[in-house]
Symmetry: C2
DNA sequence: CTGAAAGCGCTTACAG
DNA sequence: CTGAAAGCGCTTACAG
């Protein structure tokens, strides 16, 4: 069977307390004893059992990452950043995906609680109140892209409004007046804020709202592809499209190519997220830059801080700034 | 503090054994007792502690997923497929990435063992022997894209050889004779097998090997981009390029666009993996189709089976077939 | 410097 | 149908 601390203690002729001390590098241990314990442990191929340890320390050394339905490069970047940073802090990452609905989130929360020391929840679709009522109050939590207002948790949000407004202003500077938007998923915080930013930019430019230019989308390539078909049937068609994320922009670009519409000459295009692959399209894709892996990394950092500082941790609401990644698809020259 | 099974038992005036029975739906429990326990539990907001349970049951209900340095859509698809299937079987997913080196793998293995009921290891760079010497022999393991030969583990491998050979044969059928390959990462199993497939196709077509046509690459967009610069400086340049994965093909495509080389007219191009985004490029990208999310899902299925069947589980070595996703970049018409 | 013992939160034969 | 008690593998005051 499995070799335990008892086996090592017995064989090394010490108590389990001593073995424990050796393995945790705490307390004073005679050098000779330490050597003997380590040797015996190696001989027996002993590995401390994490579950036993967790039960007495009340730490799990694991962090839970709750993601919405994961798909595509955005989430892979979040996970990458989170995992790297978690490892640096000696935490494990328990990933759980595909939670867009209230009850799924609730189940996931229940199931994770007790197995993790803290939780990162990315849930742009879910009202934060649902979380509040379902979370053990003593569990440190960082909310990512959640609706937050007066919630007792740390939170990280992308500056969706500012980023969207900025990129639309840029399209305006290119001289375009009729600018369409392909919207994101309904009831999604990121999507709503980007829409607000789009509208705000137009309004400040003295351009009235035009519902016909606000096309439905779903943050997916396919939805961008289909949205373009609708956009091209408008009379007159717009001069530019702001896609609510890069996946959508990529689908849109594909459709424009297929319909023989030159980008950016006949139609300017910009996305949001600046996923790594954006710069490999032709034309290269203009986007709103968000350091996605940093987002995951930062969430972990905040959470680790919260875990360590315990109850005197001061909650923060951080808005992560964006910048413009100007490339060819909006009409800018290709940068080097 | 945390509310435990004792608190519930006390308040409901039963033993902890009874509370345990109610929550696990086992053994006979008087309906009236069950009701009272459940009510009390709800009142106290009791959630069973997973760590305590694990220690006595010796199950963790978690599966570890060890990935190489994760980046890009391929891995996000693996995780997606794995997580969905794991959830169906009521297992959690403990993800650990960034393991390309021997000692990293060893650390990860040590750290995970005891916290998971089984392990999926994707490690195309690592010799399986390293794994064998580092794994608790009683832990069920499924190897993904690992060098395997006579190892006592289940394994899943993509038919890299067959897929690569097939796509190169297809390029030959388009009439191309000078076909370059952009290779994958060195000492990587998938990369080596794809190279073998490429060579085999050429050889069977009576075309001798030409080292100048085998260009270094790294499975990344950037490496594909740079490889094309070298390829275009060949005299004469080849008529087609087989990129060892889609990321590489995408980088290559980007470079070809930039250099004004028409694809597929002046240069045919094909990739490998068929990542979802491949069909949104212009021209749409021909590739070797692998159902990546199914790969993750299948690995979980195998592992769950192994966990349940215990020691009388029969190890299998499964090779996952591929198919050709023929699109525009190789010269085929666009499918609908 | 070291050990005996209690305790972490559960489950599970065993007895009744 | 229910409970007392041992045990899972650790850690940690406490005592010496």
């Amino acid at each position: 069977m499995r070799v335990t601390i008892k086996d090592v203690a017995q064989k090394a002729r010490v108590s389990t307390a001593t073995v424990s001390r050796v393995f945790n590098n705490i307390g004073p241990v005679e050098e000779e004893t330490r050597r003997r314990v380590l040797e015996t442990a190696k001989e027996l191929r002993y590995t401390p059992n994490a579950v036993g340890r967790s039960l007495s320390t009340k730490r799990t050394d694991a962090i839970g990452l709750l993601l919405p339905d994961i798909y595509g490069e955005f989430f892979s970047e979040v996970i990458r950043g989170a995992d790297q940073t978690a490892q640096q802090h000696r935490y494990h990452l328990l990933v759980s995906s595909s939670h867009n609905h209230r009850d799924e989130i609730e189940t996931a929360l229940r199931v994770m609680s007790g197995r993790v020391d803290g939780l990162i929840i990315m849930s742009p679709q879910i009202d934060a109140e649902i979380l509040t009522t379902n979370l053990p109050t003593n569990l440190p939590v960082v909310l990512l892209s959640c609706f937050v207002e007066d919630v007792p948790y740390d939170s990280l949000n992308i500056d969706n409004f500012g980023g969207a407004k900025g990129i639309v202003q840029h399209l305006l500077q290119h001289g375009h007046r009729r600018i369409a938007i392909i919207k994101g998923v309904e009831n999604n915080l990121d999507a709503e804020e980007r829409l607000r930013g789009y509208r705000s930019a137009l309004q400040e430019a003295g351009i009235g709202p035009d519902a016909a230019l606000e096309i439905a989308g779903k943050f997916s390539e396919t939805s961008g592809y289909e949205a373009v078909k609708k956009i091209l049937s408008l009379h007159p068609p717009p001069a530019a499209i702001f896609a609510s994320n890069d996946a959508t922009a990529i689908g849109a670009l594909s459709a424009l190519h297929e319909m023989g519409v030159a980008v950016p000459q006949e139609m300017a295009l910009a996305g949001f997220d600046d996923i790594p692959i954006a710069q490999f399209f032709s034309p290269t894709l203009t986007s709103v830059r968000v350091s996605i892996s940093d987002l995951g990394a930062l969430a972990i950092q905040k959470l680790v801080q919260a875990i360590h500082e315990k109850s005197n941790h001061v909650k923060q609401h951080v808005v992560i700034p964006t910048s413009l990644a100007l490339r060819e698809s909006c009409g800018c020259p290709k940068p080097h």
